[in-house]
Amino acid sequence: MLNKIIEYIHRDEWSPYIAGILLGVVGIAAVGISNNLLGASGAFESLIGIIGKAIAPSIFSNTYFNYVVPSEITWAVVLLIGIFFGGGLGALTSNTWKLRVQDDEQWKAIFGPQLWKRWLILFIGGIILEYGAGIAGGCTSGLAISGGMLLAPSAFLFIGSMFVSGIITALIIYRGRY
């Protein structure tokens, strides 16, 4: 039994149900232990608030960075740092940790092999994602999963609209290959 569990941990990819149960338990623990919700997008705003206030305090001392999002090392920032190491730990257990670029075959089939193209699209995608998460009130974790588990209507509005525009975007990019 124990051997089987250890062997499973070393696998590269788990059943999404098993991984989902793990995340669900983590979500319960976050509320039970810390009375906090899991999330990712808000931590970027706290971090940039800290950096921005150090470099250009006159620009970053606005309502948003002063009152809406605390410009300090919050619980969510520590969680985000944990996510970074957790991804690394997962890759180490399956022996897939490696410094690399451009490792997705499907990406290359659709966008081609140019690295600048990948980096440009990831950069622009990051801006779009973070801005959308700001307007919506959270991202896939902070709103969709954390809000959904509490049965907040906002989460289901977000999931629905995210799928609508995601499907349309994929249709436009993939066209005949959708």
Binding site: Y17, G86, G126, L143, A152, G160
Partner: protein, 183 residues
């Protein structure tokens, strides 16, 4: 101490994203093509497990819910629409980008994180002229569905779980999924 918990929970969170395969471009984008529904299965499973756990614990008086993510219909929808474009275009989201960066993916570590930080600057600096107007429309505040519709929350959570399990059954057993075209 609270920060130590945050760090440990973050590690488990990132670990689960890695194991579910969500740190890969094709996994994310293929959910929008309905050729691989791992993202949906993962998200819904986490959501349902946490929902059943938290509503049961609350019923027993063991937890108090933190502030529920606010519902302001127009903003939740517009934000979601913007978000979906980014997710299908780049094949990641804030959490999976960070977890993928931890796996050694320089694409996620450099342009990815720079993109999220740039988005955060853009949002923080335009917040005052954009957000209050959008959030003022159809604002229901920190409400949850069972209260909004006056339903028993445990029964509602159970019903939700059953629907999710039925959906998983349709996907896995009845083959409710599209075949991946060769690209």
């Amino acid at each position: 101490m609270n920060y130590l918990f945050a760090f440990i929970l973050g590690i488990l969170f990132g670990f689960s994203l890695n194991k579910a395969g969500l740190t890969k471009y094709h996994k994310i984008v293929n959910v929008f093509r309905f050729t691989d529904l791992a993202v949906l299965k993962f998200m819904l499973t986490a959501l349902v497990v946490a929902m059943l756990g938290l509503y049961s614990l609350r019923e027993m008086g063991l937890v108090v819910f933190p502030a529920v993510p606010a519902t302001y219909i127009t903003g939740n929808i517009i934000g979601g629409l913007i978000f979906g474009v980014g997710m299908a275009l780049a094949g990641y989201c804030p959490g999976t980008c960070v977890a993928g960066a931890g796996e050694g993916k320089l694409d996620y570590l450099i342009p990815g994180l720079l993109g999220f930080f740039s988005g955060a600057i853009l949002y923080g600096l335009t917040y005052q002229s954009v957000f209050p107007k959008i959030a003022a429309i159809a604002n229901y505040g920190n409400v949850v569905l069972p209260d909004l519709w006056n339903l028993n929350s445990i029964l509602f959570a159970l019903l939700f779980a059953l629907i999710a399990i039925f959906l998983f059954y349709l996907i896995d057993r009845a083959g409710l999924i599209r075949k991946n075209k060769s690209l």
